[in-house]
Point group: C2
Chain length 770, copies 2
């Protein structure tokens, strides 16, 4: 079934393309990305090199090479393989490409390729390959490669490690060495800044009748085996390549580990390694999959997005961020933004809560970075980095856009004014606790995060004595076109949530873990007076209220006084199409045109707004939103779905799910790579379905559903884990079916539409909802 243009799915478990498009080299690599949270391997054919943006990005290899941007290292490409048939290079850019297919198998994260190619002397050559980044051994890349020729031919195959890697900002790997060790090829290099050692080891097993010559070519920037042999017409020659990547941040002896890993894989063989890898994916899908009946497009899209969300997440670690572009490239520095908690985390929170726990533990480990930032800017507590890498120090520079008309740098204040990331994290800790009942996490980690954020918020706020309220001044809300605003509704509400959670947790700690509380109080020098302050601030913080008549919530002080114009009309004011729309004098600054959902985003996180308020604000803000952020459509989709705007919700679901898959945007702008996978939007797809169409909400004492499916969907099925209890949910247009795993220990209170009930282990409920 055709999804769009050159993209297809047959069973909703795969996406594939039938034609090669030279213009889409960057999108190809991102679209068919392989990965396992440890590494991301771009979905590029094995004969490509840095010119086609081949990349293998390794988590936890942050390096600063140009003095400005710290980003992940791109490892030498151990899967590099190319053949020459009768002297002709088989390539997508030479000869005659008769057929070329790429298929991403979502079920097991495997990329298959089929090339039918014709050369002058070579005749027709067919190549088949498949590869994956193993979830069983996260250091392993494996490729099965085979080819045959139409006629008898002399073959020259070069395969090995290509160290000519592509970097965005500065050369990250230096002192590269390429060498042979026993039957393996090795590359050792070091990151430029902290000399992280990075070892890539390659081994292979060729099944060919007779290899005439075999030589190692060490060219200084790559090491290759040159294999020469003859093939008869129709002979299938097959090659299994196993590559391991290790850094000295992973193990103390990365070379040894890598050699061991490759040897083991070679011994196991391709199929057995694949099977181990598939087992892990089976388990993942068992927990995460959403089955959609009636709409194969939606089915494929949700799985594609869940796949991308999964492989972007460093599940092997509790101290690494989810990159805003995952491991698909170096853009966005492999770093966490507010996306991580608000967009990436929920799918894990409700399906694999230990991953959510890891995500939050990362924020615990980066508390010192956040404390430093707060201190540097004159605040107390923890002010989380807008762009957060390994240590949590602020990576976001003050100047990154350019005024394309004057050529002058633009000073943005994302790092200083976009404070909502801190309460977003605190809120998410609270949500984690609500969803899991994991009090021990709060005791050990969560309380400290939340207290430090509350402390930060108090030190940031101003008190207006004449109005008897706390205010936040000089903010940048989710809508990044309006910097330097006061009382951004989203931020103020989230701040209140953080303070309320802090107070609740403080009380519970005092009641239940007084000794632990004392230890924590001593550790962070928390004073009683501070708790009183938070309590006062939680009560007196200014929360912009819905207008009595219009029900509109003002995004920030004075927003409604700005010029009211549509994004389309506004666009016509651009002098240069590349102009930045925001601060300090972009075309949107003095208008009501917003980059992305802001008040609407708040509704996704706060159950306290009624439908009239949500609808009116949706109607108002939607048409003023330019969707300059990939985070925008999902919020609109969720709130539309929650309020009966099913067509609109469906459209934004599709829009949000296809930001990467359907992207034909140019990926290089002004010399800067802006491609890569929008992992937050990918993870948000799950939220659109579960929070949006299924209408799921989490409360302290219960969960609730208020489902409304799009016209084309007949049924959705998915599993959730709530407070340790596994739930099987099946929603059709008429019925809501809920089953509770017999292994669960507790019962759960559930509300579906207006009906509230308890469900017990092993129990099944069917409710009519038509």
């Amino acid at each position: 079934m055709k999804l769009k243009k050159n993209l297809y799915t047959n069973i909703g478990w795969e996406v594939y393309e039938k034609k090669f498009n030279k213009q889409q080299v960057v999108n190809t690599g991102s679209r068919y990305l392989l990965g396992n949270g440890y590494m991301g391997y771009r979905g590029t054919p094995c004969e490509w090199n840095k010119d086609q943006y081949v990349g293998c990005f390794i988590s936890d290899t942050y390096d600063l090479a140009d003095g400005r941007w710290r980003e992940l290292c791109n490892a030498p490409n151990g899967l590099y393989t190319k053949i020459y048939v009768n002297g002709e290079e088989v390539s997508l850019f030479t000869g005659n490409v008769i057929e070329h297919r790429l298929k991403l198998d979502l079920k097991c994260g495997k990329l298959s390729r089929y090339l039918k190619w014709k050369g002058k002397n070579a005749g027709i050559v067919e190549i088949k390959s498949e590869k994956y980044a193993s979830y069983h051994d996260i250091h392993l890349l494996a490729m099965q490669y085979s080819f045959k020729t139409e006629k008898k031919a002399d073959i020259r195959m070069v395969t090995g490690i290509d160290g000519r890697v592509w970097d965005l900002n500065g050369q990250h790997l230096v002192d590269k060495e390429f060498y042979q060790k026993n039957n393996l090829l090795c590359s050792t290099s070091y990151s430029s800044e902290k000399r992280i050692k990075l070892d890539v080891t390659e081994g292979m097993c060729l099944k060919a009748k007779q290899v005439v010559s075999k030589e190692i070519l060490n060219k200084g920037d790559r090491i290759l085996r040159e294999l020469k042999f003859s093939v008869a017409s129709g002979d299938e020659i097959s090659l299994f390549k196993a590559v391991n990547v290790y850094s000295s941040n992973d193990v103390s002896k990365p070379l040894e580990s890598a050699c061991r890993g490759v040897s083991r894989a070679l011994k196991n063989g391709y199929e057995q390694e694949l099977s181990l890898h598939e087992n892990v994916w089976e388990d993942i899908w068992d927990k995460q999959d959403i089955k959609i009946k009636g709409d194969l497009t939606s089915q494929a899209l949700i799985r594609y997005n869940l796949y991308q969300s999964m492989i972007a997440t460093p599940v092997h670690s509790d101290s690494l961020p989810i990159g805003a572009r995952g491991l698909s490239c170096q853009a966005y520095q492999g770093s966490a933004f507010w996306d991580q908690e608000i967009f990436n985390m929920p799918v894990f929170l409700y399906t694999q809560p230990t991953i959510a726990r890891n995500i939050l533990k990362y924020r615990y480990y980066t508390l010192n970075g956040a404390r430093e930032k707060a201190k540097r800017l004159g605040y107390k507590g923890a002010f989380y980095a807008w762009v957060s890498g390994k240590t949590g120090k602020e990576l976001c520079p003050s100047y990154f856009f350019e005024n394309v008309i004057t050529g002058r740098k633009i000073h943005n204040h994302f790092n200083e004014w976009q404070i909502h990331v801190s309460p977003d994290i605190a809120y998410s800790v609270g949500e984690y606790y609500k969803a899991t009942n994991d009090w021990q996490f709060i005791v050990d980690y969560g309380a400290e995060i939340i207290f430090e954020v509350a402390r930060f918020l108090y030190s940031h706020a101003y008190f207006k004595k004449d109005k008897n309220r706390y205010e936040f001044i000089r903010l940048l809300g989710p809508d990044e076109y309006h910097e330097n605003v006061d009382n951004n509704a989203y931020t103020n509400y989230m701040a209140q949530k953080c303070l309320q959670i802090a107070l609740k947790i403080y009380k519970k700690l005092k009641d239940e873990n007084p000794q632990k509380l004392k230890t924590l109080e001593n550790k962070i020098k928390l004073k009683k007076k501070e708790i009183e302050n938070w309590s006062e601030m939680a009560e007196l913080i200014y929360l912009p209220q819905p207008d009595e008549e219009t029900k509109l919530i003002e995004q920030f002080d004075g927003y409604f006084d700005l010029e009211d114009i549509t994004p389309e009309k506004l666009r016509k004011r651009l002098i240069d199409p590349e102009e930045y729309w925001g601060w300090p004098n972009g075309i949107a600054v003095e208008t009501q045109v917003i980059k992305q959902a802001d008040v609407i985003q708040l509704f996704c996180l706060d159950n306290g707004f009624n439908k009239e308020v949500m609808k009116n604000n949706y109607d108002y803000y939607k048409q003023r939103t330019q969707h300059g952020s990939s985070l925008s459509p999902s919020a609109y989709a969720i709130i539309a779905a929650n309020n009966g705007y099913l067509n609109k919700a469906y459209k934004d679901f599709i829009r949000s799910c296809t930001i990467d898959l359907y992207s034909t945007n140019k990926s290089i702008s002004g010399g800067t790579f802006i491609g890569g996978v929008h992992t937050a939007a990918c993870a948000a797809a799950w939220q659109i379905i579960v929070r949006g169409f299924a209408g799921f909400k989490l409360y302290d004492e219960k969960i609730s559903f208020d489902p409304q499916l799009p016209a084309s969907w007949n049924e959705i099925k998915f599993n959730m884990v709530i407070r340790g209890c596994k739930l099987f949910i099946n929603i059709s247009k008429d019925e809501f079916k809920l089953k509770m795993d017999a292994k669960n220990e507790n019962s759960i209170k559930v509300k579906v539409r207006d009906k509230e009930f308890s469900i017990n282990p092993g129990e099944k409920k069917i409710l009519q909802i038509a």
Copy 2:
């Protein structure tokens, strides 16, 4: 003695030029401006018209014609006079100008002209004229005009009222009528907005042997007498013209008043009217003059500036502002800025305190405008307009600069963020009381101003609970290149002064005028709690302190973190020389380059800083100041003089005094008239001498002097009025002489350098200060 290029003085009571420069038409009109506070008559030869920016600007005729800018009306020119000799027009732009002199007599505000001209047929013609705007009858313009020819000639003279006036923004006078009434010519017109009636009446008296023909030419836009006669070689023909201007804002029957005025003047004759006018000037100089021995340049300059300061000031009224360009043109809308109290007022406060009283009464009458502005922007009390006309409503638009690179309008926030004008006014009320002891003024007017400003400040301030202090956020200080700053030192200190004055006055009212206080409290609904609030805020307001080591006061939060670069180097970054340097993205915004004195300006108003602090800050800020404002050099001159930087002080004294006199700047920029007289800088010249070189300071209980004269000055002499007592001050390099008028009623405490003493009526003190 030559002052500069084409400018001379002989006795320090005049400035004159010997050559006519066609390029300097606008500067000529401003430089030799006549006026009396009721009207400003540009110093243009009588045959010029709107093309040479002839102007007669009438106070209290505010008119909005283009929907954007409200400005004063330019009245039809009643002095218009031109002669043709043997058919040739005598003009500076035709024929051969042999000699042309313009002399402004500062002693009596009179402009003399001498033209020696040669035409083809006319031969040599000599014209002499003098004119003044009377201080005796402020509605009167008088001109004595005479000419003679080298040879017998036929003369055609046209003289009357030229209604072809020049307007900056829209046509202000409409429905113009020109007519004859008895022997007078009249022009009646109406302002476009409020139909203020404006009457100009002209009468004349020609002394010529025989007038051959006399006709009235009514051309719709002017009314002229055409006089034809013959003259013999060397015959001196003389003409006396008397013009009256009245508006319906002055009297109920302006035409009648104007006719009466002209008739009386014609009856009195030129000389008698001049003598009445001169008497007033004699009195003004008796109060205001500063005599400087040893430096004729300085002598002429101080008198020139005092002259301009005087004629800009509407002393006939207590409800009109001093225009930032006085009555020299329509630019700056004839409106008051903070200049009025901080720059214009002091010279009057200490020499003619009733004028200072009128200036402050204007602020009392405009309280409602300030209240409205505060309310509109969400504050309480009185937020004075940045640009204040008759009513005190904000006249400053939000958009007035243009981004010359993009052609887009720039949104500045002078009107919203430059709040210091309000405490500046309150402070000046306090200074008025300190200098005059006029408690009745405080009771009747001053208290209400100060209380309302204190109230505004309280409603504007934020309280930082974690720092236990009040802060001001989102300010624009005197340095207008840095908008949107927090805790501008100048503003915060001035705010504290206002609060302290408010508390002092409240207490005194309570003690001495409890009934009056009660009335005022009822009127403005002042609550006890508010006084407590002010008291707390006066104590807890954040005042940026001098750094312990460097002694530097940070101009605003984060100023020292900005890029440190000199104005000269910064200028090189301009893409277009016309670019605005300030908000939001001008080249100065992210640097420490400031437009004008800011911290240094504070030192001029606050006696509480020691020399080390003043010197270090002077040294630091001076080299970072671009002096983009005419208000800047005077502050630097005062603080330099107070701290022994005598050469620097002298240089800035000259610079400040010659902003207009030496100006050769183009006066039209991008089609906009930016010429006119900088009245604040003119008045500040007095402050540089008295506060700067004489080191005068006013305290609650005493006055003090700490004199240091520039190298070239041998002696200065001036008079002051302190608390009703007239003082004669005479300072040489060695001696400080102080005499107190015998008519005074009280003694005064004086401190000179370190010596403190009381001086009694009639007493004389001589102190050695060498």
